[in-house]
Amino acid sequence: MTAVRSKRKAFVAQKDCVACGCCVKVCPFGAIRIIKGITARVDMDRCIGCGKCVKECPASIIEIREVCE
């Protein structure tokens, strides 16, 4: 059985990311991590595009985009 997934995913504007980790805290799926204290990175396999990180990000640099699977 394959899980039906939304085709919406979170995207981080990495050059503006301050790596505060607020997004990591709110992601219900553990789909976002801070890489080496530099920037957040989304695990596309885990992300369901719920948008919690988008709301939380203090710099507002995460957005949800439609993607083709």
Binding site: K36, I38, R41, M44, P58
Partner: protein, 203 residues
């Protein structure tokens, strides 16, 4: 397979109590201001040794306090922060300014230690407004310079809390995190550390 992560609270999710107590204790006895050095050294040590910004997301009590006040207590407009506030120019500029003021504070402490200046029982807010703070000073067992540092350091902490609260109300709860000098500095340390190993960041 995507699975929901446990959101169980950990001990470090309550560190906002430490930050709140710190602010209150500064009104009772200024010498408690020395405890604030923990918020300076722990993030730096984590960044230098582990090369992560683990402090920000896990242990930063101040960030948690802003989250709580702006989130659960609804004291934030939750609007986007202006573009210039998240620019490198502003973030690095604020870091430099913050440190310049920090060293000025250390210099004033030195002058008291050297006997060239008397202890000033004031807390300077926003680097400008000198607020008499006599009620929180009950003498010191050590040199007056030790107390001068406490006044200076508490000024730094209270000033940054006020700025953080203002941007919390105007923008998102943790807007302070965008231009927090400690955050900017630990990110720079992490960048410098991984720069040598050539980290690949694209997702």
């Amino acid at each position: 397979m995507t699975s929901i992560r446990s959101m169980k609270k950990q001990w470090y999710d309550y560190l906002w109590i430490f930050s709140l107590s710190y602010l209150i204790l500064g009104f009772i006895n200024i010498m408690f201001a020395w405890l604030g050095l923990l918020c300076f050294f722990i993030p730096l040590i984590i960044a230098i040794i582990k090369g992560t910004k683990g402090y920000c997301s896990r242990y930063c009590g101040r960030g948690q306090l802003f989250s709580l006040l702006g989130g659960r207590f609804g004291l934030s407009r939750k609007k986007d922060i202006p573009g210039w506030m998240k620019s490198k120019w502003f973030r690095y500029g604020f870091l430099v300014f913050f440190f310049a003021m920090f060293f000025l504070m250390l210099w004033n402490t030195y002058l008291v230690f050297a006997g060239a200046q008397d202890l000033k029982q004031v807390v300077t807010l926003l680097w400008t407004f000198k607020v008499p703070w006599k009620w929180a000073y009950h003498g010191t067992l050590f040199h007056p310079g030790v107390a001068q540092f406490a006044f200076g350091f508490y000024s730094v902490m209270l000033t940054s809390t006020i700025l953080g609260l203002i941007t919390m109300v105007l923008f998102k709860p943790r807007s302070w995190c965008v231009y927090c000098p400690m955050g900017t500095m630990t990110q720079l340390i992490c960048k410098a550390r991984s720069g040598r190993n050539g980290v690949k960041l694209s997702s």
